[in-house]
Amino acid sequence: QTLQFQERDFLQLLGLDKVPSPQKFQPVPHILKKIFHNQEAAATIGVSQDLCNIKELGVRGNALRLLPDQGFFLYSKKIPQASSCLQKLLYFNLSAVKDKEQLTMAQLGLDLGPNTYYHLGPELELALSLVQEPHVGDQAIPKPGKVFVLQSVPWPQGILHFNLLDVAKDWNNNLQKNVGLFLEILVKGHRGPGVNYQLEDTCARLRCSLHASLMVVTLDPEQCHHSSRKKR
């Protein structure tokens, strides 16, 4: 009984309301491990450090969260645009961020997977847009709004990063606004109708290997006083 009380108190200290019971461990990105080990090493040798500054990312903050994408692929019933390789709704649950916390970084990571497509294949273009309406009529296809990223997919691409701080702040201020992002990967300079089998193979591989996540850094003002205020 006592241990349960103490456990609940310790969990509250961690900002949790009950013991998590994850089904499987998510992959931990290298940067989180690096920040963790740097922090542990500094504490071990007794170096005093500013716990509200994530120097590896160059932002202020005392909590980092890697949010997995909870969205889904979209298959439009109409014959897909010849140039469209894949369409996906990306959704990140920001409810874990407490009201008192300030967002200082929100970085979208898009991992298109290793050797996703042959570099001899068609050049691809990646478009990110806000979802204007979660769905149109009875179609579960969200209506994409303003495109805010449009770029060709470099080769080899590794993990692509996009700064979503303003979008995430908007979502965090009004959770109803968080209806996700619309990701579309297009074929640049598509040559007319007809199925291009290599293209179809490339797109199928992209759909299998695409992995999206949102890294958010937050600052708890109760634990982190504003850095500019000099100690009197």
């Binding site: 931990v28 542990e40 874990a96």
Partner: protein, 113 residues
């Protein structure tokens, strides 16, 4: 006048007691990715007058130990942490989010009166 130094054995004197809690013993290894456990060190022990003139004790502890020697109704100075260090926790919550948080003043490094 020199106060009689009480013959207190060293092990009863104020010092840091080390205690490591393995998260596996609590079943928390299923959601805490790192570290494997937590140094729950604590401070415990007497603060006799003789100690307050040597160990990293505060002047206040010196005065309180003096007062205690003169009037035992006044409690001895207490044994508390004098140096603490932070820890970082890398864990996963129920929404499959991976979270890294820093917690200040979590591990007792040194104790004093």
């Amino acid at each position: 006048a020199v106060l009689p130094a009480p013959n207190v054995s060293c092990k009863n004197l104020c010092h840091r007691h080390q205690l490591f809690i393995n998260f596996r013993d609590l079943g928390w290894h299923k959601w805490i990715i790192a570290p494997k456990g937590f140094m729950a060190n604590y401070c415990h022990g007497d603060c006799p007058f003789s100690l307050t003139t040597s160990l990293n004790s505060s002047n206040y502890a010196f005065m309180q130990a003096l007062m205690h020697a003169v009037d035992p109704a006044i409690p001895q100075a207490v044994c508390i942490p004098t140096k603490l260090s932070p820890i970082s926790m890398l864990y996963q919550d129920n929404d499959d989010n991976v979270i890294l948080r820093h917690y200040d003043d979590m591990v007792v490094d040194e104790c004093g009166c």
